[in-house]
């Protein structure tokens, strides 16, 4: 069903969703009390299709109130990856038959090696960069366009917005950010690159048909004749509801275990995350020391016990999206 890719997209952008729904610090990955005596089911690695790179570490040029890994200009808990770091894992990924590559941070374009990293990656497979759009200066956009044209594999960009005007966006991202993102998007449009704009369903009623139409108009306004919009419906039911029904779902999950169909909806069944500190189970849990599965990708080709609150959230959303 449609749910599979949709959910992966949703989780990729989980960072943007929490504030909209009133997610608080205390609701983060330890949302389920540790004393809860439920065994955590294992999720198998069904296929290693996607490899993530925490290419900018936790370094970002802005400091969003809701960032689930607290990226900021000064957070160095994960360092930037160098081209050499990426090359080592790409060689391993080639042997393992990885399908595609995703780059996130922090802000990927803060990494001075980013263009070289993309160039190398695109010789081996398609690449998608998740960016806040602020550093997309005309020259960088021109270089990205050239890379796009000469690569056999697809180069895609995703710019996530927290609203569709300065007021709603900047409330979360910080003052003046909207203006800079708009400039970046216009620069992209100027060179004919067409990013996917991601936005949460909770933002300004974009979940409704009218809201969507309005948002598509906004994207056209940036200069994109063929607007690509992904509305993420993660946590559609709201944080409060997630909490109140959460344990029930979790218990069901614990008792019945995961079927392969269930597992396929979780991105930890088809991906791993490379950071400067090693390889982690997924992009969401890189702040959890126990989610580091090993030094190399080969170390991580095994099941992972879903014992975190964030796992619960992934699961609840899965149920939600499939129905």
């Amino acid at each position: 069903m449609a749910g599979y890719y949709h959910r992966i997209d949703a989780i990729r952008n989980a960072a943007n969703l929490k504030p909209v729904l009133g997610w608080r610090e205390s609701d983060s990955v330890t949302a389920i009390p540790h004393q809860q005596p439920l065994p955590a089911p294992d999720v198998p690695l069904l296929a290693l299709d996607t490899l993530w790179f925490q290419v900018a570490g936790t370094l970002c040029n802005i400091e969003c109130t809701h960032c689930f890994i607290s990226s900021s200009p000064t957070n160095r808990s994960h360092e930037m990856l160098t081209l050499a770091d990426v090359e080592i894992r790409l060689a391993e990924a080639r042997r393992l038959g990885v399908r595609d590559y995703y780059f996130t941070g922090g802000e990927p374009f803060m990494n001075r090696d980013m263009l070289a990293i993309l160039e190398t990656t695109l010789k081996q497979g398609p690449a998608t960069v998740l960016t806040n759009g602020m550093l997309l200066r005309p020259e960088l956009c021109r270089e990205l366009r050239e890379l796009f044209d000469r690569s056999e594999y697809s180069l895609d960009l995703r710019v996530s917005l927290d609203g569709f005007d300065a007021e709603s966006h900047d409330a979360i991202r910080g003052k003046g950010v909207w203006e800079r993102v708009m400039k970046g998007l216009r620069n992209l449009a100027g060179v004919g690159l067409n990013p996917v704009i991601t936005v949460t369903e909770a933002a300004e009623g974009v979940g409704s048909a009218e809201g969507r139409t309005r948002f598509l108009e906004v994207i056209r306004g940036f200069g994109f004749a063929r607007p690509r919009l992904k509305v993420l419906s993660l946590f559609r039911i709201g944080a409060e509801e997630t909490r109140s029904h959460g344990y029930e779902e979790w218990e069901r999950l614990s008792m019945d275990g995961l079927t392969p169909v269930d597992a396929a909806t979780l991105q930890c069944s088809s991906s791993r995350m490379v950071t400067s500190r090693g390889v982690y189970v997924c992009p969401i849990l890189i702040a959890e020391p126990a989610a580091r599965m090993g030094e190399t990708i080969a170390d991580t080709l095994r099941p992972f016990a879903l014992r975190y609150g964030a796992c619960h959230t992934c699961w609840v959303d899965g149920v939600n999206c499939r129905t």
Binding site: P126, Y153, K230
Partner: protein, 260 residues
């Protein structure tokens, strides 16, 4: 030398199937197969399966045959965009309502894959991919290492698939190949009205692939679609060669060549 013809998604495009079969017959091949998705998009969904049965052409289930034969409420196409899904639902509801039960039952008897050995090459026919009936395999996002893995895991040297709607061929190391046969149901989003099927030739262990453009009476099809009140967007695609729906699933590269 062995030459085989593969027909990807037909989407109830009966005139295109007639033209394709005529072309195959004219060229002469050692065998022809369809790769699933006989219905969707076009009008009068009984005609295509009836003709395939009459001509005794073998083939496999697509997600459409799986859904129709099991009484599912949607096509399980795998789209993620609400607009794409809305149009997919129109196609499916129309097709489900207008396909005879006997044909639905016949669809349920089709295999999900076919394997054969041609001159020592293991050939595998699948709909989306060998591992998932509705997996979209695109040229720009199917990396060679990934396709090598698919070949390895499915124990095949040559994989044929369809489902995504655009034809391509990747030649891998050790004489392995993955071929998306394209579709004859609708044009390939290139501003031309023709559709494509695929010829695969094996000669002394060497594989070559030819994508064959087929011109057919698309005006008649458009007229019939109008008479059946199918969406104007679908008819526009048939008349112009540009996709108007199901676009959001396209990777950046394929989308860049798209009109919409």
């Amino acid at each position: 030398m062995t030459r085989l013809a593969f027909i990807g998604g037909i989407y109830s495009n009966y005139p295109a199937l007639v033209a394709t079969l005529a072309d195959i017959e004219r060229r002469g091949v050692d065998g022809s197969w369809f790769l699933g998705d006989l219905g969707a998009f076009g009008p009068h969904p009984n005609r295509v399966p009836e003709l395939l049965i009459e001509k005794q052409i073998p083939g496999i289930q697509g997600n459409y045959e799986e859904s129709l034969s099991s009484g599912a409420t949607d096509c399980n196409c795998g789209y993620t965009d609400p607009r794409d899904n809305a149009y997919a639902q129109i196609s499916y509801d129309y097709t489900a309502a207008n396909t005879d039960d006997a044909l639905k039952q016949w669809m349920g008897t089709l295999p999900r894959e076919i394997r054969m050995d041609i001159g020592g090459l293991r050939i595998l026919l699948s709909h989306g991919s060998p591992r998932r009936i509705n997996e979209f395999l695109w040229h720009s996002t199917s990396s060679e290492p990934f396709l090598e893995r698919l070949c390895e895991e499915s124990r095949a040297d040559v994989i044929l698939c369809t489902h995504s709607g655009l034809q391509w061929h990747r030649r891998l190391e050790r004489n392995r190949h993955v071929v998306n046969a394209g579709v004859i149901g609708r044009p390939a989003n290139d501003g031309r009205t023709n559709v494509w099927y695929t010829l695969l030739t094996v000669e002394r262990g060497e594989v070559s692939v030819e994508f064959v453009p087929i011109d057919y009476d698309h005006q008649t099809l458009a007229r019939e679609m109008r008479a059946e009140h199918l969406p104007a967007e679908f008819i526009e695609t048939i008349e112009t060669g540009w996709w108007t729906t199901c676009l959001e699933i396209l990777p950046a590269k394929e989308r860049a060549h798209s009109k919409f």
